[in-house]
Symmetry: C2
Subunit: 343 residues, 2 copies
């Protein structure tokens, strides 16, 4: 089959790779209907050292079950399924607690295993990992359903961990796909005041359609001042940090109201956070982390199926599998917000 | 009256100061029955630059109401009251949310105002600040009741913010008075496994009487390994950081189980916390801060009054007001755990 392999910074190729086969009785083989490129795929795209062997790419996909191992029940060939961005057994203590990203028998797509940016995927721990979609799901819904793999659940995780509710004002830092999904999630959880910080107008426009009530283009100390101005000097109860840089987390801590929470879902590119004596006096909480998407899919699915939320609008370009290298380039150069792949 | 004034590192004096008088209609004058020296008083005792003017000391006290301003209702002369370690109006949005440490009209004892380590105190915002104790309270209970001012509520805040429950294993870092009260609070909230990290045997012995199930004297990487060994390699769901140093917070993050929380109540002596990509992948939360003692006193008071908990056992030395300089020295040299003052 054809699949995406990254060989180093800027070097993404679509190549012939072995067809996936069942190896464990808990495996399933899924033919990919839709996948996409993630903002986090850009970190290796910018920085991966050259590799002779290469690394299979893609951790967001939905597709059709082709085959299942002997211990897989609940799925059969022909089922349409969505996969969260890590696989997990669904039975260990962490999975039962809803922290499938720490599953004792889980792991990540890609690398030496199949990734989502290919024609098909061997899915380990299929019973714990996959979620079956209703039969005959409308093809027009597939982009929104695909966001359950990662970005929608990641935005939701930020909002849930921060404690967003109708009583909390919210700031979302970052107008990428995760930030926009965080706006959607905060609105869905009842937040009435949602400040979106970003400086790409077409993205913040979509953010306003998703529920942002205020948009702030300024960053750093100026950005902090702007949010404080909007909130009587206090800042917001919850801050959803959807970028992952040191500058973003520093700004987040400056924006949070005393007693509030900064919830981070931008993959941390920093090693230290200034949780100093000032933040101690203000009783700030720093929470969040990599989102256990699997824990949220069943809850979010109905709202996606009935169109209450339309997170698929974050995709502003659709490509075929052979065009994936162009897709990376477009996202890296910010010509595309998020690229959908139809293999 | 006589009161404690600090003029610089190691320079604590008991002096004549003006008697307190009512200035605002919301003031009360309280004659101190018991006060004490706090671990946090040792930070200026070790580091305060010389000051000609000096700084009044003490933020923990209980006493008898002597006089009240025109707008003080609910208290009258003769009532025995306990004061939390900051004063607050009890009516602003932060107070109503239980974050009295961020009160819009609150402040701290001492400095240019009266402190607890004296014969009497002018209490600003008395209606929002003071809690009346039952008439005729047993004098033997006064030490335990005094801990409601700070250390018991601070330990409780650590446990509450971390989410301690019967389902969570707990590690308490630090065997000072706050750490021991955190053990008491965690046990009171139902924790069954409580690991106390400290290396002063007489203190950890008291910690075991308070509910600690395991004691670990090792620190740093060795301490982390010991806690992991006790918990199947996972660490504990909640870590109550009751020291405030960089080494303590680093250790706390190494001890927390994936999905868990580090709750810090040791006054932060650091500017950065290593909440790096590893902690992001483990979904660790860093929470806590300066404890809004006022929010907890009513809840904890019954258990102190009926002897269910005996936090006053953290006092291992009692002195008169004139001996306060000796009390500082004893705590600084670790000859005393916590010093009670009977003015």
């Amino acid at each position: 089959m054809r699949a995406t392999v990254m060989y180093g910074a800027g070097d993404v190729r679509v190549e012939d790779v072995p067809d996936p086969v069942l190896r464990e009785p808990t495996d399933a083989i899924v033919r990919v209907l839709r996948s996409c490129i993630c903002g986090s795929d850009l970190w290796p795209y910018w920085s991966m050292p050259p590799s002779e062997h290469g690394r299979r790419m893609g951790h967001e996909f939905l597709g059709v079950v082709e085959d299942t191992g002997a211990e897989v029940s609940g799925f059969r060939a022909g089922d349409v399924v969505v996969a969260p961005f890590v696989w997990s057994d669904g039975t260990c203590d962490f999975c039962r607690e809803g922290l499938q990203t720490s599953c004792r028998h889980g792991g990540q797509w890609g690398g030496d295993l199949d990734g989502g940016q290919g024609e098909a995927v061997r899915v380990p721990q299929a019973p714990g990992t996959l979620i079956r979609l209703p039969a005959g799901v409308d093809e027009a819904l597939l982009p929104s359903l695909l966001t359950l793999s990662d970005v929608l659940c990641t935005g939701h995780h930020a909002a849930v961990k921060a404690g967003v509710s109708p009583r909390t004002a919210v700031t979302v830092i970052g107008d990428g796909a995760v930030g926009l999904c965080a706006v959607l999630a905060a609105r869905r959880l009842g937040a009435e005041r949602i400040v979106l910080m970003g400086h790409h107008k077409e993205r913040t426009d979509l953010g306003q359609e998703f529920g942002a009530t205020d948009v702030i283009a300024e960053r750093g100390g100026e950005g902090i001042e702007k949010v404080r101005d909007l909130t009587g000097g206090d800042g917001t109860h919850t801050v959803l940090e959807c970028v992952g840089t040191s500058a973003a987390i520093d700004m987040a801590l400056g924006i949070a109201r005393a007693g509030g929470a900064v919830s981070r879902v931008g993959a941390a590119q920093y090693t230290e956070v200034p949780m100093d004596f000032g933040t101690f006096l203000r009783n700030l909480t720093l929470t969040g982390g990599v989102a256990p998407a699997r824990a949220y899919i069943e809850e979010l699915l109905p709202d996606v199926l009935d169109g209450t939320i339309q997170p698929g609008r974050v995709f502003d370009r659709t490509i075929g599998l052979e065009e994936v290298p162009d897709g990376y380039r477009a996202m890296a150069e910010r010509q595309a917000l998020k690229v959908l792949i139809r293999p």
